[in-house]
Amino acid sequence: MGELSLETTKALLRRMLLIRRAEEQVIHFATDYKELLTGHYHVYIGQEATGVGVCHALQPGDYLFTTHRNHGHVIARGGESGPVLAEIIGRVGGYNRGRGGTFHVSAPHLGILHTSAIVAGCVPLAAGAALSAQQRGTSQISVAFFGEGAMDEGASYEALSIAALWTLPVLFVCETNGMAGGRREKGESGPRLVDRALALGITAEVVDGTRLAAVCDAAGRAVERLRAGSGPVFLQVQTGNTWPGHSGGRAVLQGGDFDLTWAYDAAAAPQELREWIETSDSVSILLRDLDRSGVLSRAAAIELDREVRAETQAAAKMALESPYPSPEGALQHVFGR
């Protein structure tokens, strides 16, 4: 794991597992209950290393903006599973008292101010927070997570272009997960996305998002550049093959919750998942790496996961026990006055 200490590595793996288990819980909410989670939702399964690796490079006070696929980013930044899950099912215990829901989980106390479910909606906002830091003379930086689909929206193009022009301290993290709303085939859009950033004069690179270490490394270098005031950085993070459980705006858990032993022995996993576990799942790849390098044994990992599962269960319980907000509250908070 290069420069990461054992402690850090364990902590990062723990975060990744927290995300995995919380997302599975979201799917359970949608499929095991009636009328609990009726709309679309988007889980982060497989991409955990990106969120966790990038957030590892951040400091308190930095800003983070995300999309419809936000749950993982919020937890990666330190969000607790309880209020995240409560928000996702619209309860007062959620970070936004259930007002925003799955599309809009945010956590202002962690610098995640407003989450846009509009593709590319968060990209100008993140550049704006960077402008704010620059104007106020702080060393804060701002991160925007978004998918490759967002790179086709003018909003991201304009934000990148202005960020370059104004040398804004903003990190653009484009998670290329092979999905863009089902609207186009992979690779259809011509040359690499990273070229679009380079053409605007932005420092940019392609990162292997299936490996936590690669993300930590790239994000670490990017953040250093940003804090030095050298202008925006664009990371095209290739998150590997798409998790086979995605199904439009919902999801299916093939073979149930992820079993950690699958990571070490893909043959034991459901047929549909095997290739993905071998080549793409950032959690599985990390587990195997840690095992092979002797940093964290299978048994220790499974023990860690047991804790995480207990924590997630408690979080789900808290969410389910949290009441719905009072109906008339709907008229509040349109304006500050």
């Binding site: 709309g39 619209g90 007002r99 925003g100 599309f103 967002a150 086709d152 929206e153 008229l331």
Partner: protein, 315 residues
């Protein structure tokens, strides 16, 4: 007449359009089996609404009849520069030399867990923009018939409004190419005591309210389904108001400057002396749409709001 869902009726319309009109092209959306039969006239764009809507407008100026499926209506905000600044003014600015027969097809309204960005009802934006037609069907038959008219006959841009909660509504749909003309309202239920002007998803809600009012209060409500906002069947509106003297407008857009505002203002201007009571609006209160079911239900205009409103003005 065969029964089918609103969604099925719309698909049927699209098939008939593609069969009958070689100039029709579909941009965006999920077309299922259509995808194979008409593959060369179906374009799947990247997530770039401004780009592909503008492309549709340019194509419509040059001999195609594009139908653009944008999905959730808030995504059309991305394309508003091309819709409001180009599509709507092209005929006018050319002093009538150009036609722009394009259909922008969007899904509006409070859908259940759509929250602030997946529940938009932008009809008022379009009604305030001269040069755009607006269809607001409330039934499978009208969805099909109005889509046929927009795609096959119209010479001007049309905003085609589907309410998400109508997609599963079932109803009879006449066989064959039964176009529904624009600008012709339909009296869905006759009544002498009060006029309920309704659009889209509010039509079934109004009919439900009317039944209950008849049963419980002996109030005979006339339910008028406007079907298109532009062109508006002003004659039908004014005739019903002249008959009943009382009006409630049931429309699921935000209240201020919403669809209900225009209808109320029109009536107050042109049918004032027929009015026996204030014109009531049932609309979304002036708030964004919250996610929580409890809050979302609270801001959704329902048949109970219509009943309460009618009872008030029929006192």
């Amino acid at each position: 007449m065969p029964e089918m869902s609103y969604a099925e009726a719309l698909s049927q319309a699209l098939v008939e359009i593609m069969e009958q009109e070689p100039r029709a092209v579909l941009i965006g959306g999920a077309f299922g089996p259509l995808g194979k039969r008409f593959a060369n006239r179906i374009k799947q764009p990247p997530i770039a609404e401004l780009g592909y809507c503008g492309i549709a407008v340019g194509a419509a100026m040059t001999g195609l009849r594009p139908i653009v499926s944008l999905g959730t209506a808030s995504f059309i905000y991305e394309a508003l520069p091309q819709v409001l600044n180009e599509a709507s003014v092209a005929r006018y600015g050319s002093a009538g030399q150009l036609s722009v027969p394009v259909v922008f097809h969007v899904r509006v309204g409070i859908r259940g867990a759509g929250a602030m960005q997946h529940s938009a009802a932008p009809q008022p934006i379009f009604w305030n923009t001269p040069g755009l037609q607006i269809a607001v069907p409330s039934s499978p038959a009208d969805a099909k018939g109005l889509m046929l008219t927009a795609a096959l006959r119209s010479q001007d841009p049309t905003i085609f409004i589907d309410h998400t909660r109508l997609h599963r509504l079932r109803g009879p749909v006449p066989d064959g190419p039964t176009e529904v003309p624009f600008g012709v309202a339909q009296v869905k239920r006759e009544g002498k005591d009060v006029t309920v002007l309704a659009t889209s998803v509010m039509v079934p809600r109004a009919l439900e309210a009317a039944e209950q009012l008849a049963r419980e209060d002996g109030i005979a409500a006339e339910v008028v389904d406007l079907r298109t906002l532009v062109p508006l069947d002003k004659a039908a509106v004014l005739a019903s108001v002249a008959k009943t003297g009382r009006v409630l407008i049931a429309d699921e857009t935000q209240k201020s400057c919403g669809v209900g505002a225009e209808l109320a203002a029109l009536i107050c201007e042109e049918a004032f002396f027929h009015l026996k009571a204030p014109v009531r609006r049932v609309a979304i209160p002036d708030v964004p749409i919250p996610y929580s079911k409890s809050e979302e239900d609270y801001v959704t205009p329902g048949s109970h709001h219509i009943m309460a409103g009618v009872r008030e003005i029929c006192r």
